[in-house]
Amino acid sequence: MKILAELREQGRGQDMQALVDHLPYARFLGIRIARLGNEITTVLPFADHLVGNVRLRALHGGVIGAFLEITSIVQLLFDTSCERLPKTIDISIDYLRSGRAAETYGRAIVTRHGRRVANVRTEIWQEERSAPVAASHGHFLLTPA
């Protein structure tokens, strides 16, 4: 992916905000990256076009899934600064409670990083980190540049 190679050449291989700004779908969702040292948190500000149930004003299940997937991939790129976008092989999502009309945060851990496949576990939450909205684990294909 051109943007990843460019960022790496500029010594900004870990500038995940520049990466998500470059992805139309991540921009459409409104995803931002908060970085403190070597830790990143993805941030999804609430917006009306993310709602799946008007009566509950709850986030759409697909938005939750997409946010988990993007959080997983961003963490993987942050850890490895590889030149290709990892490809999702599979992702398994547990919906734990409804996502309210509030800002949502995501953190991921790369539990195993092999030569071809990485395993990533991700959680997203709103007001309370100890009360996650959803969790996922996924397998991602790492293709050589």
Binding site: Y25, H49, H60, G62, A66, I93
Partner: protein, 143 residues
Amino acid sequence: MSDLEDHLAQIPHAAAIGMTFVSRGANTCVVRVPYAEHLVGDPDTGVVHGGVITALLDNASGMAVRTDPNEFTEGRSMATLDLRIDYMRPAQPREDLYCEATCYRMTSNVAFVRAIAYHDDPTDPIASSVATFMLGTKAEPRP
């Protein structure tokens, strides 16, 4: 407008990604997402982001639960318990996405749904999913 079309029209995120109702069967339904620039995940290739496929599979799976009027009465609430997606091949740029979802089992508390996402041939899927839904959940916002 059918009840499922009406239901879909009331979902803001479904409208935001251009999701439309195509057809329904006894326990199945087909939903479409037309190709659009704002759904792209990789600007180098123009391929739609996996998250769009997730939203499509999730939404169509929920609608498949609503296809059986004897089992699922209007106004009844449900919540996705889990969703597992396998991505079999990359989506093609500038092609519309379709999803066919089948609710193959419904108990008093839980519905089980399989779904596939494809461009024009359901036997050559882009992704497949299995989902479970909890039925009769609270229809009011979480405190």
